[in-house]
């Protein structure tokens, strides 16, 4: 073995730039491999970029993202391609031909992120980053800490006067309205899908009222409401009337552990609701919170400690029971009906705001990915380490929290490297 060279060569494609994809990409690149990191959004960070805080430390995810971005900046072996999707994967382990479609950003590398385009743009579009709770300009920076720190022109305004105005306002010739989608062909030795998850569509859970009653929101919406850079600058307010809630109910297993929706446990929702209960309690010392649950899944010393801390708060009331219905009540309030799992008693509770702890559905459940891949019935990608070559990391593989996703994603970097070594 030579002393100065890693034992194998070749490139790795990582699909998905959320925390798992970032981790796989960085861990492999820091061993010394070339990595292409492909992300469909115009920014990296995925779901965690939308979170206000991590449990159980209650620290901002942007802290960890920032250092990962810095690692990317310091490592020329990682090539980041945003607004891109993998359209074709052919070949065998160690030797894949992949095709990547890159959608136009309409902004080129001249962009200095000065923001003049956004100032002149008049059209406002729904911000997907904020789950439609906020409008953003048709020319926008996805969020403050976005990486790459470059604006995007929304396809919605292409061909309008607004687009022309943006172009004119740019002193750096960075707006390119004629930009077209293009394809990129790459040769790689291994592929890691870190395509993540999406919140389960809560409108499918009829009895829980989401989409019918405005003051019923999802847990991911709650993250945005609590985030300083969110639609309410971090103030938790009822969407319908911007009122500060005095009572909030969390509905656990909204869709998860339910044969009609997601048959599995989504792993994170218990801890997420415990955390969100603290968001509310910190902002509103008088607020009362109800958490309706089947089991509180806070495994491990750290999570258990966190749960006990939340439980010690007298204004957070735990109700053992599955919520059967959430309906509109007077004055914008909502009423929950639940059956106590132990006593069988039906109880109802009227609150100002209900938060559905909706579960995670693998992104691949609805859009199958190219390549020789086997899925579970629910769309999680099964890893076949004997075959190798193509792997899934993080929540593309199973429901997981950030800790487990990072562990799993680190390991997948090695699996990818093994594929190159076996070539």
């Amino acid at each position: 073995m030579t002393e100065n060279k890693a034992p194998a060569s070749g490139s790795i494609l990582v699909v998905g730039g959320g925390i798992s994809g970032l981790t796989t990409a960085l861990e492999a690149a820091e061993v010394g491999y070339e990595v292409f990191l492909v992300e469909k959004n115009p920014y990296l960070g995925g779901r965690v970029a939308q979170l206000n805080q991590y449990f159980p430390k209650l620290c901002p995810p942007t802290c960890g993202l920032e250092i990962n971005f810095r690692r990317i900046k310091d490592n020329p072996l990682i090539k980041v391609i945003t607004l891109a999707e993998v359209t074709k994967v052919t070949g065998a382990p160690g030797d894949y031909d992949v095709q990547i479609k890159i959608n136009p950003r309409y902004v080129n590398e001249n962009c200095t992120a000065c923001g003049e385009c956004a100032k002149v743009c008049q059209t406002e579009i729904d911000s997907a980053y904020d789950f439609g709770m906020k409008k953003t300009k048709g020319a926008f920076l996805p969020f403050e800490m976005a990486f790459p720190a470059r604006y995007v022109i929304a396809p919605e305004i292409i061909g309008t006067d607004d687009a022309a105005r943006c172009k004119e306002a740019c002193a750096y010739d960075a707006v390119d309205l004629d930009m077209q989608a293009k394809t990129l062909d790459l040769k790689v030795g291994a592929v890691v899908y870190a395509t993540g998850w999406q919140p389960y569509d809560a409108t499918k859970i009829d009895n829980l009222g989401f989409g019918q009653v405005p003051n019923i929101i999802t847990n991911m919406m709650m993250e945005r409401l609590a985030a300083p850079n969110g639609p309410t600058q971090g103030k938790i307010l009822r969407p319908a009337d911007q009122k500060a809630p005095e009572t909030v109910a969390f509905v656990q297993c909204a869709g998860s552990r339910d044969e009609n929706h997601l048959p599995y446990c989504s792993y994170i929702c218990c801890m997420a609701s415990l955390k969100q209960a603290l968001y509310v309690r910190e902002q509103y010392p008088e607020a009362t919170i109800y958490i309706f649950y089947i089991d509180i899944r806070s495994p491990g010393q750290r999570y258990e400690k966190f749960y006990q801390k939340v439980k010690d708060d007298e204004k957070i009331i735990f109700v053992k029971g599955k919520v059967a219905a959430v309906e509109a009540a007077a004055g914008g309030a909502v009423t929950l009906t639940a059956e106590n799992a132990v006593t069988g008693e039906k109880s109802s509770q009227t609150v100002d705001l209900a938060v559905l702890a909706t579960g995670m559905q693998p992104t691949a459940a609805e859009a199958k990915l190219p390549g020789d891949i086997t899925y579970t019935e629910d769309g999680f990608i099964l890893n076949d380490f004997r075959k190798g070559g193509i792997f899934a990391a993080g929540c593309a593989n199973k429901p997981a929290d950030v800790v487990s996703s990072n562990q799993n994603a680190t390991g997948m970097a090695l699996k990818a490297i093994q594929t190159l070594a076996a070539k």
């Binding site: 100065n4 034992p7 960085l26 861990e27 820091e30 061993v31 010394g32 991590y54 430390k57 209650l58 620290c59 901002p60 942007t62 802290c63 920032e66 810095r70 690692r71 900046k73 310091d74 020329p76 200095t112 000065c114 923001g115 920076l141 403050e144 800490m145 720190a149 002193a171 750096y172 985030a227 300083p228 850079n229 048959p263 599995y264 446990c265 089991d295 899944r297 495994p299 491990g300 010393q301 750290r302 258990e304 749960y307 053992k320 132990v342 006593t343 579970t376 999680f380 199973k398 429901p399 800790v403 990072n406 562990q407 994603a409 680190t410 390991g411 970097a413 093994q418 070594a421 076996a422």
Partner: protein
Amino acid sequence: MDKKYGVYICTGCGIGDALDIEALSGVADEEGLPVQTHPFLCSQAGVDIIKNDTEEKGINTMVIAACSRRVNFDTFRFVGSIVERVSLREGVVWSHPRDQFAALTADEKEDEANFDRVQMMAEDYLRMGMARVEKVDLPEAYQLETFSRKILVIGGGITGISAAIDAAKAGYEVTIVEKENQLGGQANNWRKQLPLSYPYDTTLAPTIADQIKELDNYANISVRTNTVVARLAGEPGNFTVTLKKPGEKIEFDVPYPLPDEMKVDEKGKELNAEQQHEKYLEYNEGRKDILKLDPNGEKFGAVVLAAGYKPYEPKDGEFAHLGFGELPDVVTNATFEAMAKTGRITRPSDGKNAESVVFIQSPGQDNDTDFEYAGAVTSLVALKQATYVREDYPDTGKAYVFYQHMRTPGLQENFYKSIQQDPGIFLTKGEVVGVSKNGAGLVVDARNTLLGENVKVKADLVVLGTGLVPATKNDPVINLAYRQGPSFRDNIDLFQGYCDSNFICFPYETQRTGIYAAGAIRRSMTMEESIEDASGAALKAIQCLESVNRGMAVHPRSGDLTYPDFFFQRCTQCKRCTEECPFGALDDDEKGTPKPNPARCRRCGTCMGACPERIIGFADYNIDSIGSQVKSVVVPSEDDYSEPPFRILGLVCENDAYPALDMLALKGLSYSADVRLIPVRCLGSVNVIWIKDALSQGMDGVFLLGCKHGDDYQCHFVKGSELASIRMKKIGEALASLALENERVAQFEVAIDEYDKIPQIINEFVESIETMGPNPFKGF
């Protein structure tokens, strides 16, 4: 390197509109440095100017006054040159908009009594940038004299076996050491095991034998059973490891640090370094000092620590309310498993069939927590063990699982669901309040169960779902020959014996570089999770080897080529650097002189911050480079203006506080223009001399802005911000010697997303200084 300087000022993004660029250029002119301006420096045309200067004029030391170094990092990367980025855009112009910080009119400029705070700020930052590049050098990578690519795996259970195979498959040589005389660890004691793959719906016959056998396929894996690590010395890439038989006493057993109470004499006075060393040798009689390398030791480059767990052993009298200790038919899940492994399930008391078995998941007593160290594993284990009852007694066997919360997260839910199908297994929420004798059997009292409000269940056997105690809880296992001690020190206490440090974002980073923990010593894990975890740890071990071989730092300053350099002639052997290093990178000798181990270092600079003699520095970050920046700030006095502006120094953590400052600029927020900010690697690297320098040159106050410390610390270097806060508390003496108020120096905590709070933090500090009045040293 013969430095040839060039200063480049970008006037784009509003810089040129807000600042007097000619005057700003004058700052470089004054120092005799060539300066150029460009309206769009990050454009190809702009970058080409710099490139041409490099090629044609040999310019190799650039000060680029434009945007924050967090952006255009690739555009302004000039390999082989020293590059300093002066943040005029985020640091000056955007965070001090002219509608709030008015520029001087042409008339006002005529009168020398007027000054423009924002212009002064820009000029100072340019001076500071020029001062820095004069004092820094390009790093030269640290090269180990001998380098080993071999990986040591401690622990031959499933985690260790998996890590070894994973590393071997990537082409690395591995040695597994196992303290028992056979591989397999805890898995050897199981009758059945939890599912390893989707659909997770059934138990498996033990797979450990196959997994052990798979090792035979790898010529690059060697196995040493009946072996433990006596000591592990050196640094990543060059560890010297002494192996021995368990229980053996040898001279290379690792010595332990002297306990605090032995560091003082009878009167409580601290002994000097040599006296302490003498005591330490007495204390560790028969063991060689850590600096004595075992000539017969084996070389390894990195370590995977997979020492696993021990089943929890209840203390005397613990769980007495559940009959444990008194009733022989109340056992732990580990005892039950061992029994099930060897034969049919019977009652320990009389050997009769145990056909009715109750599994208890929570000790209860008005508490709904599971047993300690349970994780999600004990819930799954109870489900698995319930099937044994049904296997042994298909017709009559009954298993009851009483849980407060069934913990089968994620896809493990499938296993729970499949167990629910068995009509002989009763799963119920409930609090068990007591277990008592009932003739030859037992009776279990439970409340609030799905089977009724208060139930009594007759049982032959009761099984407690006790947890998995990490092997590192009471035993260092790795036995590091490090001056800071043989184990992971700080975080073990914080994390109940688990090996960890930044467990959310960077789960494999222990506080000991080159040693990566995997499996049940990190948290309670199933076999499947342990196998997966082993891959990650193996990757980190490989990555560490390769990074060290390139002379690069590992996480979080991955790729950094600098390392601390010591000017030993002036060392006073105070040992502070050795004691404060969060990563135990330094060892001191019998006199107290530190021995650096650069490959163990994470490059945070805490040693530099700790050193009272200021003899520690990095090529691009040292006492002089920051000190010179501080000194280059112009501090106006009454000789200059009738009411001179205040000058306040802010030392800000580059990891979180500095990005937050960029964010506030982007958001259009602003703060006092009288502060001058210098990014630092970590607050732990802040040396008090910089604060003294600032105050003795007439600056009016100094603040540190960095990460949260304490149990939920956000410091990337674990201890940096905490150590800084301790130093700041002790700074009073230094200030008293200058006859200054304590309040002129402060430390503030800020998280990366709290950019909206920073203006208030800074402005309030500035106001408090203004209330105190100017520094009396001003103008001297």
